[in-house]
């Protein structure tokens, strides 16, 4: 039930290099590397290059120490990372390519398989790199909230119940009637429904908490979630790859 305290707002405030702020940034980057990876893949990098570019960008960000000077506009972590990723692609690519075979220590154990599997089912042709970044970001937020919810439920010894009730998170009714679920879980229908309601409420909280970690101002979680929803619902359009504004 513990919330991670890593927060973008804290990182922005942390000024000293090599401090807890740097470690926190490392954690956040570790959590949100997939959007950057698919961003580079969409721009045309192959699997290895995209991983190397991501690693290179993250190394650079962590080495900078004071983000406040470097970050464009002290905005949300999402827009910050997206802008950095784009700049890195434009400016540092050649240099990074020249240097990358040097055998830098890998900062993060990136496993592109997950990201590749995700990419395989996306309508890539109708989305530009930025849109794909946003989409993957929204999915990552959801994944992390679900994962935390699952951890909570496992910790509370409700593994079976979670497996049965998970579908209510999508807004779907459970596959079987409530009364049958109650019998399976050896409890009452009211209790099962309470559990479902609590699960949904907890999921909402976890979503908001996850999003708040990436915001400079924690009050704007609702607006950020709406933007993520819009990113998920986006089907086509947007600028073509290459004509970055």
């Amino acid at each position: 039930m513990t919330f991670q305290t890593t927060r973008w707002s804290l990182i922005l405030r942390a000024r000293s290099p090599g401090s807890a702020g740097e470690r926190a940034l490392g954690e956040l980057l570790g959590a949100y590397w997939q959007p950057v990876y698919v961003f580079y893949r969409r721009l045309g990098a192959n699997r290895d290059d995209a991983a190397d570019l991501t690693q290179g960008l993250f190394t650079d960000l962590l080495a900078r120490g004071d983000l406040a000077d470097a970050d464009p506009g002290r905005g949300r972590f999402r827009t910050f990372l997206r802008t950095c990723a784009r700049n890195w692609w434009s400016n540092e690519r050649e240099r990074a390519k020249a240097e990358k075979r040097g055998g830098d220590a890998r900062l993060l154990p990136l496993d592109p398989d997950d990201a590749e599997a995700w990419l395989a089912v996306q309508p890539i042709d109708s989305l530009d790199a930025e849109a794909l970044f946003e989409r993957r970001w929204a999915c990552t937020v959801l994944d992390r909230a679900v994962w935390r919810l699952e951890q909570d439920e496992l910790a509370a010894n409700r593994r079976e119940q979670f497996a049965v009730l998970r579908s209510v998170l999508d807004g779907n009714p459970p596959a079987r009637p409530w009364a049958n679920l109650a019998r399976e879980l050896d409890t009452t229908e009211g209790a099962v429904k309470v559990a479902a309601h609590r699960l949904k409420a907890r999921f909402r909280d976890l979503l908001a908490a996850e999003v708040r970690r990436t915001l400079p101002d924690e009050a704007a979680a609702g607006a950020e979630l709406q933007e993520l929803l819009a990113a998920l619902q986006k089907r086509a359009g947007g600028p073509k790859p290459g004509d970055y504004r």
Binding site: E27, G30, A31, D111, D114, W118, A138, C139, L142, D143, R144, V146, W147, R148, E150, V168, L169, D170, G171, P173, R176, P177, W178, A179, N180, A182, T187, T188, E189, G190, A191, K193, V194, A195, A196, H197, R198, K200, A201, F203, R204, D205, L207, G222, L225, Q226, L228, L229, L232, Q233
Partner: protein
Amino acid sequence: MNPNAPRPPDPAAMLGHALADAEVAQPWPAPTIAELAAAFPELTLHDRVGQGGMAAVYHATQQRLGRAVALKVMRPDLAKQPQFTERFVREAKALATLSHPHVLAIHDFGERAGFCYLVTEYVDGANLRELMQLGRLSPDEVLRIVPQICAGVHFAHQHGVVHRDIKPENVLVDRHGQVKLADFGLAKLAGAPGPALTRSSVVMGTPHYMAPEQWHGSAGVDHRADIYSLGVVLYELLTGRLPVGTYAPASAQPGVPAGVDPIVQRSLQQEPDLRYQSVRDVQKDLERQRGTTPPPIPEAARATAGPHASAVKLLVAGALAPVIGLPVLTIFQYHEHELGMHRFSQRIQNQNHEQIAEQITRVIANGKPWPGSAPQAVQPLPQYELTDKLDLLVCFVGGAILVTVVMLLGAAAWRRTRHAGASRIQQMLAGVLFSLPVVGSASVGLCGIVDKLRTEWLFGVLGVFLIVANGAFLRWLWRLTARRLPGAAGPLGRGTRATLWLAVVATLGLAAIVVFGPRQPAPPIIARLPIAAQKLVGLTRLQLLERLGPPHAITATKERMTWSYRSLDGNVRADAVQLVLGTVVSIENPNLILVPAPQPESGGSIGQTRDELVAARGNVRRSQGDQHGGEIEFVDGTIAKLSPDGIVLQLGK
């Protein structure tokens, strides 16, 4: 770090759903956690779990005891008004006197730093309203939950506390399904002198759940108001609707025992004296009903709900249809009788004619007279009977389909309106209304196709039009009803839709059989046989010869010829047929059957023209008279007498 959870099938749906469920904007700014943390240092505040019109509730932990509690904080601007503070303190007092498993326990209350607050036990669960949003509770579960509420309310009543605001929002259910009654916000201490605010005609409570006497703000509100509210909650839990106006009985819902209806009715009496007088009685009656709820539908059957269940229903209805379809079959028969008589009589007449013609042919060949009296050309129509197998099939299958569709549509309308909470009469009306257009269109339309399309295509088209028009009418009616009964809104069920399509396809197939199926061939023999004299008028001489053969004899005047023929009974009719200018103008008796003369001596030449005769016999020895009339003598001595216009009248040696 990377969460390895399986990805949701549709992240957009998941996020959208989570956001849709998020709390709506609150009417007043609740105190922030930080503000409260300063005022309540002994509590660790986690988050706000709810906010109503008057108070906000926070989840907190009492540090000293390490127990989870709920902190309820009154709306600060209201807390400044004296009567609200008074009410709040009274709530606390009312709650503090109660310790019962089904009543939310109070730990502490008071006023601190401008906050009126209440510390209660924390229920890790949801309220009934939230549970209802996940779908209606099963009747069994309702009958498990409501008696628990009753127990809590009864306990409060025993201690002189009337809740006065029982509603789903105030009934909490924890993770074990245990019920806790919360929010005695409007409770009145019955023993204490009524505070000013209750007599100031201030209406308190939530309108739908309030007893009528509460509406009027009367001072005489007692524990029986809670019984009314309980009745409303009970009804809403069972049906998903509020008992407003003339509400449908709760037992109209599947699985709700009929015994619940009187309990609801008695709780909802307008007059407190007519209601239950004690919550304990409500509880007892409900518990008695609990054992009688039918067992829930087994999973296997439930899993097949939808198209499969519809198919089963269709089969059952199909099996029943022939039985119930008999009256419909009669209607079909009637139509056949009325509209199809012409076709049938024609066919049977033709059959008769062929038989007669055969006999006549035989008689003629034998050269014998017709035995007995002459047959009538027009037979009396035979009695109608269903002998045609195809027509029988069409009638029967058509009737079966019709009845099936009517039953299914009626049932669908019944189900829909019942879910919408309509009364039984409304349900019946809907069932009849929905099935009537089908009965009308199918019987008229199908009969139109069956009976008329072969002969009169216009009627067939009319039949098709009727069916289509009535389909459109049905659709309109369906939508109209859906608008009038909001609960019935929405498209047709999949099963009903499939049934309708099936009916349409079957009807079209049936029509195709009728139109393109085997037909009775037209009898060609009738036209060629010498049947009725009446058919001869208007024929030319040649046609007459062709139809009846040479006459027995011909007598001629200047402008008129009289041909004599034998009738079927063997008599020679001297003036059977009269010709003027080579055309039959009149006949002796229209009902006579005329037959050709036997071939013999005349050689079939009578009635021929002079040229034809000469061409046939040749070798003219002598010709007398003008070009046409007179006599011709042939070489063999045969003498032919000719009429003035050159027709052979007699032939002899």
